[in-house]
C-alpha cells in the first residue's frame, strides 16, 4: 500500500530530482505540438537547445536574446521578493523605451558620452514613472496592485502605437517606426563584430548589485522580511508599506532600463514590436529562477537559447516560434508543480500495518 506522508526534513537530492522530472515532463508535453506541426521532436529539440550554443556566433545571439529577459526578470524578482505583485513589467519596459526615444528624438546630436548615460536614465525614469501610479494607489488606498499593473500594460502599448502613428511616424519612410536615433545613442558592441551590446553588461551589473543588496545589507534583509512575513516585519519595526513602494519603483525602473537597452542596443529606433512579451516572460524568468539573482541569469540564458533556437526551427522545420513561449510557460508550471511535492514522501507499507494504523487513528479521533 502506498501513501503520501509529510517529510520531517528534506534531503538534498529532492529538489534537483523534482526539477529534472519537470523538465522531462515539459519536453514530452511540447513534443506533441512539434509532432503535430510535422517535425521530428528530437531533431527539433536539438535545434532549440543545443544548436544555438554550438557556435560562438550562436552563443552571442543567445546572450543578445537573454538581455531584455535579464532586465525584466530581475525587475519582477525584486518586486515579488518584497511581496509586491508587479505584473506590469511589460508596460514599464515599453514606457522606458518611450522616454528614451523621446530624449533621442529631442536631442539627436548628443555625443555618446552624454547620450548613453542620459538615454539609460531616461528609460529607468520612464519605467519607474509608469510603476508609480499602481504603487501609490497600493500604498495609500490599499488597491490591489495586480489589477492596476496589469491594466496599464495595454495602455502602455496604446501609448507606443499612438506616438508611432502620430508625432513619431518615420519622416523618411512614413512607416510606423520612429526615426533612427543619432549614433551617439548606440550602445556599442562588447565584442566587435557581434550584436551583443553593453546593455547586457549593464543587466549583469544590476543583477550583481541586486544580489549584494538583498543578501548582504540591512535593507535587503528588510525587503526579504517584508515579502516573507509582512506582519512579523511590521511588528519588528520594518516600514513595510514604504519598502514595498520603493521596491515597486525600483522594479519599474529596471524594467524601463531594459526598454532603453533594447532601443539603444538593438533597434536604434522605437518600433511597435519593441517588447516581444518581455515583461510577461520576465515573470517566468523570476519565478523559475526562484527569485534569486543567479536563478534569473540561468533561466534568462535558457529562454534566450530557446528563443534563438525557435527562430531556426521555424525557418527550417516550419514549427511556429510560439512553441518557445509554450515551453517557457509549461516549464514554469511543471517545475512549480513538481517542487510542491517535495514536502511529501511516498511511504510503502504492508497492508496489514496500514489497517492497524488507520484503526489506531480512528480510536485517537474518538
Amino acid at each position: 500500500m502506498m501513501r503520501l506522508v509529510l517529510r520531517g526534513s528534506e534531503p538534498r537530492w529532492v529538489a534537483p530530482v523534482a526539477v529534472l522530472v519537470a523538465v522531462l515532463a515539459t519536453v514530452v508535453l511540447t513534443a506533441i505540438p512539434i509532432r503535430i506541426a510535422g517535425a521530428n521532436p528530437p531533431a527539433a529539440f536539438e535545434r532549440y537547445l543545443v544548436q544555438p550554443l554550438s557556435s560562438p556566433q550562436g552563443i552571442y545571439e543567445v546572450l543578445l536574446s537573454a538581455t531584455p529577459l535579464l532586465f525584466t526578470g530581475i525587475a519582477v524578482a525584486i518586486a515579488f521578493r518584497a511581496g509586491y505583485w508587479n505584473i506590469g513589467a511589460e508596460g514599464q519596459f515599453l514606457m522606458g523605451a518611450v522616454l528614451t526615444t523621446w530624449l533621442a528624438l529631442t536631442l539627436p546630436d548628443l555625443p555618446a558620452v552624454a547620450a548613453l548615460p542620459f538615454g539609460l536614465v531616461a528609460g529607468a525614469v520612464g519605467g519607474a514613472g509608469w510603476a508609480l501610479l499602481p504603487a501609490w494607489l497600493k500604498r495609500h488606498g490599499r488597491i490591489d496592485e495586480v489589477v492596476t499593473t496589469l491594466l496599464l500594460n495595454p495602455v502602455a502599448l496604446l501609448v507606443v502605437q499612438g506616438l508611432l502613428n502620430g508625432p513619431w511616424r518615420n519622416t523618411a519612410s512614413g512607416f510606423t517606426d520612429s526615426d533612427r536615433f543619432g549614433t551617439g545613442y548606440d550602445l556599442p558592441e562588447i565584442v566587435p563584430g557581434t550584436r551583443v551590446h553593453w546593455g547586457f553588461a549593464v543587466a549583469l551589473l544590476i543583477i550583481a548589485l541586486t544580489w549584494f543588496v538583498l543578501s548582504r545589507t540591512a535593507v535587503g534583509l528588510h525587503v526579504r522580511a517584508t515579502g516573507a512575513a509582512p506582519d512579523a516585519a511590521a511588528f519588528s519595526g520594518v516600514p513595510v508599506d514604504r519598502l514595498r513602494f520603493r521596491a515597486a519603483l525600483v522594479s519599474g525602473g529596471i524594467a524601463g532600463l531594459g526598454g532603453a537597452s533594447q532601443v539603444m542596443g538593438v533597434q536604434h529606433q522605437l518600433t511597435q514590436g519593441i517588447s516581444n512579451n518581455y515583461g510577461y516572460t520576465g515573470i517566468i524568468v523570476a519565478t523559475l529562477g526562484g527569485l534569486t539573482a543567479l536563478g534569473v541569469v540561468l533561466v534568462a540564458g535558457l529562454l534566450g537559447d530557446i528563443t534563438v533556437g525557435a527562430e531556426s526551427v521555424s525557418l527550417v522545420l516550419q514549427v511556429p516560434t510560439q512553441l518557445g513561449d509554450m515551453f517557457g510557460a509549461l516549464l514554469m508550471l511543471t517545475v512549480l508543480s513538481a517542487l510542491s511535492w517535495r514536502r511529501y514522501r511516498v511511504q510503502w507499507r504492508p497492508p496489514r500495518r496500514a489497517a492497524e494504523d488507520s484503526e489506531r487513528e480512528e480510536v485517537g479521533h474518538r
Binding site: P33, L152, N165, T281
Partner: protein, 299 residues
C-alpha cells in the same frame, strides 16, 4: 435622435456582454477564495476554439460547445495547480494565461499561416426576433438569466451559502461538513466555462473571425470589475455597462469632428483608464474574501 440613442444602447449591450459572462465567471471563482488570473487566457482559448470548431464544422453551436469544454478544462487545470497542488495563485494563473495564449497562437499560425479565415455566417441566432434592441441571444441570456440566476444562487440557496462559507472561512466550512476543495473545483470549472463563453461571443457573434489580440486585456478588466463590485453580481453588470459606455463613447467621439484631432489610441485607452479610475475611487480598502489567495490544507 431617439433612434440613435437606441442604437447606442444596443451597441453598449453588445460590448458589455463578454464582460458580463467572464466577470460573473470570475466572481463565482473568487467567491470561493481563488483568484483566477487564467481568465485572460481562458477567454482567449474560448474565442479561438469556438471560432476554429465553428469554422471546421460550419456550425456555431458546435463552436460554442467546444468553447465551453475548453473553459471547463482550463478551469480544472487552474484547480489542479492552485487547489490540489496549492501553488501560488498569481503565478499559476498567469502561467496558465501565457500557456493558453501561446498555444492558441501556435495553432492559429500552423493552420492559417497566410490567410485570415472568416466564418461564412456569423452566429446570428435570435438576432432578428426582437425588433427594438436587436441583440444576440447570448446577450439576453447574460443579462436576463446568468446575472439574476447567479445573484439568486449566491443569495438564497444552500449552494450559495456553501460558496460563501468556503470563501470567507474555509476551516469553519470544512468543520461544517463542506468539502472546500470540491467546492473550489466546481467553481473553477463553471467559472471557466463562463469566461470561455465570453471569449467565444467575440469571435462567433461580434467579429466572425479571429485576431491575435482579440481579448486585449478584457480579462484583466473583468478582474478589476469584480473588485470594483466588491464581489456582488449586480455591480459587476453595472461595471461592465460603464466600461461599455466608455467604449461606445470612444467610438462616438472618434467620428465627431470636434475630437478628430485626438489620436485614436487615446480614445482606445479611455475604457482602461476609466476602470482604473473607478477602482481608485470605489475600490479602496475593500474587504476581500477571508480565504482569498489561500490554499486549503487539511491539518
Amino acid at each position: 435622435m431617439s433612434i440613435n440613442l437606441l442604437a447606442a444602447l444596443a451597441a453598449m449591450l453588445t460590448v458589455a456582454t463578454p464582460l458580463v459572462w467572464a466577470g460573473i465567471g470570475e466572481l463565482i471563482v473568487e467567491k470561493t477564495g481563488v483568484l483566477n488570473l487564467g481568465i485572460e487566457g481562458t477567454m482567449y482559448a474560448g474565442a479561438f476554439t469556438g471560432f476554429l470548431v465553428a469554422l471546421r464544422t460550419g456550425s456555431p453551436w458546435w463552436g460554442l460547445l467546444a468553447a465551453i469544454l475548453t473553459g471547463v478544462v482550463a478551469g480544472l487545470a487552474m484547480a489542479v495547480l492552485s487547489v490540489t497542488l496549492g501553488l501560488n495563485q498569481h503565478v499559476s494563473g498567469l502561467g496558465l494565461t501565457l500557456l493558453l495564449i501561446a498555444g492558441c497562437e501556435f495553432t492559429f499560425r500552423m493552420l492559417y499561416a497566410g490567410g485570415r479565415p472568416k466564418l461564412d455566417d456569423k452566429f446570428d441566432a435570435w438576432l432578428s426576433d426582437v425588433p427594438v434592441l436587436e441583440q444576440h441571444w447570448l446577450t439576453y441570456v447574460a443579462f436576463l438569466v446568468l446575472a439574476p440566476g447567479t445573484w439568486w444562487v449566491l443569495r438564497s440557496t444552500g449552494l450559495g451559502y456553501r460558496i460563501h462559507a468556503v470563501g470567507e472561512n474555509f476551516e469553519a466550512a470544512e468543520v461544517a461538513g463542506i468539502s472546500v476543495n470540491a467546492t473550489r473545483y466546481a467553481a473553477l470549472a463553471v467559472g471557466g466555462a463562463f469566461m470561455a463563453i465570453g471569449g467565444a461571443f467575440l469571435t462567433l457573434a461580434v467579429l466572425g473571425s479571429f485576431t491575435l489580440n482579440i481579448i486585449n486585456g478584457r480579462g484583466w478588466v473583468c478582474i478589476a470589475l469584480v473588485i470594483f463590485a466588491k464581489w456582488r453580481v449586480w455591480p459587476v453588470v453595472l461595471g461592465a455597462l460603464i466600461f461599455a459606455v466608455t467604449d461606445a463613447l470612444q467610438l462616438q467621439l472618434a467620428i465627431t469632428t470636434a475630437f478628430s484631432d485626438v489620436p485614436r489610441e487615446v480614445m482606445l485607452a479611455l475604457p482602461y483608464v476609466a476602470v482604473i479610475t473607478a477602482l481608485a475611487v470605489w475600490g479602496r480598502k475593500v474587504h476581500y474574501p477571508g480565504s482569498y489567495l489561500k490554499a486549503y490544507r487539511r491539518a
